[in-house]
Symmetry: C2
Subunit: 341 residues, 2 copies
């Protein structure tokens, strides 16, 4: 489809130039449907295998200006992020992702190359999760909006819900905490060359999908992906489970990159309300880890007898009661981490 | 959740007043998850039975200003229409709808009552199709946008694709043709009291979902739902099947309501470009039936030996060749019906 993207004279084309069908064909050519798909893009609906007799499904919106800026993220980044958000929800049920359906609303003036790079990002992340892109829809709108539906298969296991955490369980996390928030803060502070891996983590989160089914096999009692922030998401688990969750901040093991990023952001001055109340790099880094969302790491509860593989880091425990505490102090909502300084 | 919708003083509340969780809880309370759903709204993802070991999935966007106007359609209407568009895609594969996932972007000022009526419309149409609402997402945007993903089950049958039409097959339709276009034209012409069933057909399409699996059981060789217009959608079938499709306009049996609506619209004057070139009510009505979309009726091809139940009306035949003709004249794109006057 490359030939369709530039006019014979080489002028860049817009999605309006390609037309709806041209856009769909060009996107479809870049997004493999995956091995479980018997009908992909191009019919009324897709047909995807659901080997264990049920399907796991989640949808997430990604809006320009709200979830991403075209000036901060490439089209490829946006594709990766849109896919990761939905795919992580599938993994958080203990399921294996199988397929994505992508609805794209965009201005007619959007460069066709942007749409194609978006497709490359979607395809990359779907492939990393073992899924294909099997369907979609397009429409015109004033800004770019993506709605990504992910499907998955439980391989015969029951889903790991939010509601099964039991007093005595340990709380463990797979994947980074606070990296996306740190990258966002670096971008906001204009510190765009330091710690590129954190900026990359903000632009292109890389959820540990395979840790989801692994947790299910290990006997996880509850699981969620860290999309709103560790404490907020553990709050969902605590509420659904009717239990209390205690996080021990020294066990978060935040690491040097986060501390270094925090020092750089503080040195750059109080460029955002989020960072202005932190008085030390350690406090700022802890805030990112506790309340920064969008890493899409997985946090799960396990019976204490379970021997966890190394990628699962124990960060706390489940107790009788309700709510979430950090080092014994109650978490009191999105701004609550400031109480933990 | 009714109590959450008005302040104690009875002032109308907005979705921003309710907050994201309040909106989700209020919507979820109005939308049953359906009998096949083991995990519905409220976890990372839904879990829905896929009894035949595969899942049929489609996504459609519905945008304010493009697909609907809040001044012309109630929130309930918009909910019905959004659900119908996606559910019809499932039926058009010969599958039984099982579930919807609904992503809603809306201004914070949207009245909470509007969102709840939307949920009622979504739930009504999902229920009419035998499906439940199992998941979703919400976000803020400048205008209302819905992305609805529908899932379905094939009950062990192969999917009915667009590509199986074979020379010798008959072409048959279940459901009305041109009713949505007629209703739109009546609204555009300001004739809002005549033929209320046509205006209702525009606001709230009622696809004959059960005709989809019925067609599959009868041995349909190809099927599609009429979303872009009969000729455009038959064009998709002809192209995918490598065959020609001949429509016989006298067999469309348009009926008195369409003819009466056409006379009323013509009498109201040339209020839209779409109707200004039609010189007779019969021509205008035929145009609606051939090129008016959004009825979401089902059109399928069947071997000539199949005895069709009454709701399937034969309107043409499949031949060797390519393209779509009406009474022997080739269809030449969206404006092509004007050649058939």
């Amino acid at each position: 489809m490359e030939a369709a993207i530039t006019e014979s004279g080489g002028a860049p084309r817009s999605v309006a130039d390609l037309g709806e069908w041209g856009v769909i064909e060009a996107l479809a050519a870049r997004m493999p449907a995956g091995p479980l798909t018997s009908v992909g893009i191009g019919d009324d609906a897709a047909v995807v295998a659901a080997p264990s007799g049920s399907v796991v499904a989640a949808v997430d919106l990604l809006l320009e200006g709200r979830h991403f800026l075209r000036s901060w993220s490439s089209a490829y980044d946006v594709g990766v992020k849109a896919a990761a958000r939905s795919l992580a929800d599938i993994a958080a049920m203990g399921a294996v992702p199988t397929a994505l359906l992508v609805a794209l609303a965009a201005p007619g003036t959007l460069p066709a190359s942007w749409a194609l790079e978006l497709a490359d990002g979607l395809a990359f992340e779907a492939g990393r999760a073992g899924a294909g892109v099997v369907g979609g829809d397009t429409a015109r709108a004033d800004s770019v909006l993506l709605s990504v539906t992910a499907l998955g298969d439980l391989a015969g296991r029951p889903p790991v819900r939010r509601s099964g955490a039991t007093p005595g369980d340990v709380v463990a996390v797979a994947g980074p905490l606070g990296h996306s928030a740190a990258g966002y803060a670096l971008l906001q502070a204009g510190v765009t060359t330091a710690r590129p891996e954190l900026i990359a983590a903000h632009r292109r989160p890389a959820p540990p999908y395979e840790a989801g089914p692994e947790a299910a096999l290990l006997g996880a009692t509850a699981m969620i992906d860290v999309s709103d922030g560790l404490l907020a998401d553990l709050g969902h688990v605590a509420a659904a489970s009717g239990a209390a969750i205690a996080v021990e901040s020294p066990r978060l093991a935040l690491g040097d990159p986060l501390a270094e990023a925090a020092a750089l952001v503080l040195a750059a001055g109080p460029s955002s309300s989020r960072t202005s109340s932190a008085d030390s790099p350690a406090s700022l880094a802890l805030g990112w880890a506790l309340t920064g969302g969008e890493d899409h790491s997985l946090v799960a509860t396990f019976p204490p007898s379970v021997a966890l593989p190394p990628r699962w880091r124990v960060i706390g425990a489940v107790h009788a009661g309700d709510g979430v505490t950090v080092d014994g102090n109650p978490y009191q909502g999105p701004a609550g981490w400031e109480h933990f300084r």
